[in-house]
Symmetry: none
DNA sequence: GTCTAAGCGAGACGGTACGTCACGTCTTTCC
DNA sequence: GGAAAGACGTGACGTACCGTCTCGCTTAGAC
């Protein structure tokens, strides 16, 4: 798989990605067409196909490259507060138009196109997981988390319900919802007296 | 929203739905077309459009109607065992071709098409949730679950990680994974001595 | 080979053919595109492809159908005068814009596309030959042409030089040129005393 | 118009022309593309455009340069026999694959592209005519042809029917056909007793 | 013998058109 | 009188070439 991130400095590449996001915002991902992106960017269709093999990967690349998510975890020493802060930030971003629907569409596309799924995992999900795991591990070493607790599982219990709301029931993901999940998780995670 | 379940007895309707599923199995949901369904079913396109407003809803209806999921919860008195049995059954179904990819495609479509999302929730997600909640409630009344535990949250923690694996990381959902989630959930849910 | 003449009464078919000729007149056959014809005719490309398999045959059909050539030979009893009249009429038509260049383009296309060549022969060349031959035969029976003269050859000597000028040297075909050919032909054809 | 013959010694130019003819033989002139010629010749597209302004002229130049036609007329003293020999040779060449179709395509292209028409006339048609006329003139001076016969017309009557068969009816041009035309021409041309 | 300009391969680029597919609507034809 | 069959305008697909252009890399010939 070629690295689509490299040519970020290429002006034309960036023009195309901006046109992609602009159009996606305007008409939605489903009605996005490579033809329209090319027209908007003032570029031949070939120039797009030369860079991305499908609409899905073009969109994914545009979304991630132009919005390099800042997911560096704070480490204040209080794992509960740090997780809370981080996840609140994430859901706030998803609640800010137009990012929610666009990210939703991206995940939707991943269900149809394995290449998008792979790219999504490699460039977005996994890095985020790793940072979260690192932060959890640090907390575990400081004794804030029960030493035998499976941190991978913690990850899943933190992320899963959030995505469930976001993708399946499509209700807004509130801070309160996050807090309740965190609480429930910690009731089981924290060391017993 | 019209009730698409009613004409189950209509032979033509059923033929179309079968053709839909057959084709979806063969070429995948993404490449499914109403044109092809009509041809396969030996039916005019009008006859399809008269019954369903979009490919997404046709597919959703076909999937649910022809595969009426059996999700009646057992109640053996042991909530842990009952949940385990039920969820194992579900993931087994998703692991049986072609249901996994097809359900995945359905959820993917729901991200692009609000009507599919609504239909999915109403006809599939909510009923399942309700049955699970009822079973959890019974367990709570029998003292198997801490009386102040938020059962909605329990639902979310049970479903979320499962969907996360299924939709996002797209790794196989194993029985072991289910068991670990259940365990983690109960370590926090069960009444403390 | 389907008969493209039949649906002359079809209004849409005729609209397309008119648009074809209009565009051919405006930009020339070489720059004619099915895309542009469709746009000009207010018609989908498929509607054109459904009727004609190639640009060449569309053009040929348009040219012949909308300009049903009147090639009924007069028979005044004087074969020389009748041939002269007929051929003068033909070259006059070719000299009247835009027919000359369009017919030239049609013959050019026939060199690249056997289907056009076949169609050109069947629908245009052969009928004309047959009428000319019939007129020559009548003259031969009336003693105006030597009884052992090969009439097919006469045809070739009448048509050949005309096409040679028209296609190869691309000089204008004048009445005088015709007359000289006719004269040369008759010097050899007419019965000797 | 630049003289494209000069750089015959240029190795690269010759490589391109050979690639052109090779490809034309393989896929036909209509499907020939400068892009493909460049690739086949292992040459940049610019290198072709620097030498020829269009596909038509590239093809024409390739055809003529690499197949310098030998059209030097014999002069045995018998004009009939000499014409016969010469024309038989020409049609034999056209009957030898792949020259017939290629020359046909060249004439076809001349109908669409005036530059090709001009080049065809200047480099191929006119020289041939001149040699034929010179031979005819010699014969006329020797009394083999009627002194007042229009030799240009003789040319036209010799070439025209041949091209008519070749381009329009696209039947094979046989030796017999040539002989019959020659005979008919001479019945009118030769001096009467 | 170095420098420099031209020629070169490679191929990216904005375009145009291709011929195909499916959309959702509409019309015709038959049962 | 409803359904199959499929024609229709529309719009997008992904591909092929067009003719122009920009890259570095030779490669002579002029100094």
């Amino acid at each position: 798989m070629t690295d689509h991130r490299a040519p970020r400095y290429d002006k034309r590449t960036e023009t195309i990605m901006r046109a992609t996001l602009d159009l996606a915002r305007e008409v939605g991902y489903a009605k996005l067409s490579i033809e329209a992106v090319a027209a908007r960017a003032g570029v031949g269709k070939h120039t797009i196909y030369r860079r991305w093999p499908s609409k899905g990967l073009l969109f994914h690349d545009s979304l991630l490259t132009l919005n390099e998510p800042v997911l560096d975890y704070p480490d204040t020493g209080d794992i509960m507060a740090d997780l809370r802060r981080q996840i609140h930030g994430t859901v706030d971003l998803l609640g800010t138009p137009p990012w929610g629907p666009l990210y939703q569409a991206l995940v939707g596309e991943a269900q149809h196109d394995p290449a998008v799924a792979a790219s999504l995992n490699e460039r977005f999900i996994r890095p985020q997981e790793e940072k979260t795991l690192a932060r959890l591990k640090a907390a575990q070493e400081q004794g804030q988390i029960s030493p035998d607790f499976d941190l991978d599982l913690a990850m899943a219990i933190l992320s899963g319900p959030l995505y469930f709301r976001f993708l399946i029931t499509q209700e807004p993901v509130t801070h309160d919802y996050i807090d309740r999940i965190l609480q429930a998780l910690f009731d089981g995670m924290e060391p017993r007296p």
